[in-house]
């Protein structure tokens, strides 16, 4: 449209309709197009799973385990020191300052870590 310049939104729709030669059945303003693309829903996480993903604790951002630390003992310290997973790993600041007292290298001596009961 060169002589009639659409200004408001209805004019734009009229112009689009005209441009497409009026053959398109009036889509309910594009809703049918959206419906066709099935937007992938977010992956499912069992309750109690935390959702921060760099990577996650129970599951990675895709809902699986391929993105988790390999093995998790490799990164125990970032969770323990940085309080990255305060509900999953005893944190060094409050609950158990010497949780890893006898475990300098988690991958080797993880057996010395203990289950902690806060409080």
């Amino acid at each position: 449209m060169t002589h009639l310049k659409p200004i408001n939104r209805k004019a734009h729709r009229v112009a689009d309709l005209a441009a497409s030669g009026f053959n398109r059945t009036p889509a309910a303003d594009g809703k049918d197009v959206v419906a066709l693309q099935q937007l992938p829903g977010p992956p499912h996480f069992p309750l109690g799973c935390s959702l921060a993903f760099s990577p996650g604790w129970e599951a990675d951002s895709t809902g699986g385990t391929a993105g988790l630390c390999q093995p998790v003992e490799r990164d125990i310290f970032d969770c323990h020191l940085g309080c990255f997973w305060p509900a999953h790993v005893p944190d060094q600041l409050n609950h158990s300052p010497n949780w890893t007292g006898s475990c300098a290298t988690a991958q080797k001596d993880w057996r010395k870590l203990d289950l902690v009961f806060p409080g």
Partner: protein
């Protein structure tokens, strides 16, 4: 050759350019010289395409004129004489139509006695003083209204508190908001609140509550002291200005979380739009001011006669121009009548009904009767059910069927019908005794005002298109919430 004839549109100028407002599609196009020339030719007779081409051959080359004609045909601005476009089918809204807003008359009592009040004056629909209506809405009824709203609404719902004087029943209002928030959270919906008040009962703790809970507030007020005190008086006749002025200023100072608007009722003796607007925005600091002519039967002495409408329209045009100058420099201006109409123009709204009453908006009386809107709350003739038993969908469908624009033949020739669609049901009821008649007494005024807004819209499209684009952003944000 096939004769060309004009279809329905309204031509206007803005910012030195020509525009077309097409009816009933409500599309706004800017017209260039060739297009304008073709339309001018068709204004008097019905020439064929070739005649038009060679009549304009001195001004424009043939291909340009042909192209202009095809574009005008596509936009339905012009059409072939023998191919009359059939009027659009009478499409009724799909049922059950989601409820968007519910207006609760939390009381039908008022501590003021405004002379022109439609709830108490001779034109009242429901006799609340001696009638068997309960004076205050109970908390249970209010809760049932919340449950009805959340049951029937989409993801976002709005609840407005009205009266009489809303704040006379503040305890129920407060409890209802808390309850509504909890219930909305449970069903995963969002709900927001607003209320209208005459500001006489504003107290610091109420203002604190309104700010804390982000409640939208509209103040009914008529302007400077002598205009306010002319009609908005207490039962003993004394003016309300001195009482409300300090309270409104305190409200505007303290309540920052939602924009606060004033609603001015214009009567035959108070038509001074400029001064009222100046007073309310500069003296008080209202964010927006909306004006509405008084709803009344013709024989009241405060009713605006024909000469009054002309004066009002002139003043509206002046304030409209001031709005335009502000909008061009992206500065805020509080004349809400223009802003609302501009938004509807920009969206290309083509209404089958004048407003949301009985459709997405319902009113609830103090006893829990659901009515078409808050002005009909409590009247049996316009009852659509009760909050307890829910909306009677059959009665609603019948109401919508009878009030559709397709049945208002007087409007079928008016170019402003996409935006007006016959005007307010209550005003038609007060004036003609039935809600089904269009408000023929203010057609000239509506067309004059719509034309003014279209001109403002056109000029803005030329001088500051960014201002108009803002309506798209609000729209997407609104849609995102929906």
């Amino acid at each position: 050759m096939l004769a060309l004839r004009r279809r329905e549109f309204h031509q206007f100028q803005g910012g030195g350019r020509d525009f077309l407002y097409l009816v009933p599609s409500a599309a706004v196009f800017e017209l260039d010289q060739p297009g304008r020339a073709v339309l001018d030719l068709l204004s008097t007779d019905a020439p064929s395409e070739d005649t038009v081409v060679d009549r304009l051959s001195d001004r424009f080359p043939a291909p340009v004129v042909r192209e202009a004609i095809t574009e005008l045909l596509n936009a339905r601005a012009i059409g072939y004489e023998h191919l009359q476009d059939a009027p659009g089918p009478k499409q009724l809204p799909m049922m059950p139509f989601p409820l968007n807003t519910i207006v609760l008359n939390v009381t039908n009592q008022c501590n003021l006695a405004c002379t022109y009040c439609y709830e108490y004056g001779e034109d009242k629909i429901v006799d609340t003083e001696h009638g068997q209506q309960s004076k205050f809405m109970s908390e249970t009824t209010a809760r049932e209204a919340v449950d009805l709203l959340l049951k029937e609404s989409g993801r976002v719902a709005h609840m407005t508190f009205f009266g009489g004087e809303t704040l006379l029943n503040f305890p129920v209002l407060k409890a209802t908001i808390a309850y509504a928030r909890g219930r909305a959270a449970e069903v995963g919906k969002t709900i927001d609140f607003s209320l209208t008040t005459n500001a006489t009962l504003l107290r610091p703790d109420i203002i604190e509550f309104l700010a804390e809970n982000e409640i939208g507030v509209t103040i009914s007020m008529d302007g400077p002291q002598e205009l306010q005190d002319k009609f908005r008086v207490f039962h003993n006749g004394s003016g309300s200005y001195d009482v409300v002025a300090p309270k409104i200023k305190e409200l505007l100072r303290r309540h920052r979380t939602r924009p606060i608007g004033a609603r001015v009722t214009l009567t035959s003796e108070t038509i001074d739009v400029q001064r009222i607007y100046r007073h309310l925005t500069e003296e008080f600091g209202f964010w927006e001011v909306g004006f509405a002519p008084v709803t009344t039967s013709p024989q009241q002495q405060y009713a605006i006669g024909d000469s009054g409408f002309d004066r009002m329209l002139g003043q509206f045009r002046e304030l409209g121009r001031e709005f335009l100058e502000h909008a061009v420099e992206n500065k805020h201006h509080g004349f809400s009548n223009v802003k609302d109409t501009l938004e509807e123009i920009h969206k290309g709204v083509s209404k089958a009904y004048p407003c949301g009453a009985g459709l997405g908006l319902l009113g609830v009386s103090t006893d829990g009767d659901v009515a078409v809107c808050h002005r009909f709350a409590g009247s049996d003739t316009h009852k659509l059910g009760t909050v307890k038993t829910g909306i009677d969908r059959a009665v609603q469908a019948e109401f919508l069927e009878q009030h559709h624009i397709a049945d208002k033949t007087d409007c079928h020739t008016c170019w402003a019908r996409p935006l007006c669609a016959g005007g307010c049901y209550h005003e038609a009821h007060v004036r003609y005794g039935t809600t089904r008649r269009p408000n023929l007494h203010y057609c000239e005024w509506i067309r004059g005002w719509t034309d003014t807004c279209l001109q403002i819209y056109g000029e803005l499209a030329v001088r500051n298109p960014e201002f108009i684009a803002r309506f798209d952003r609000d729209e997407t944000r609104a849609e995102a919430v929906l």
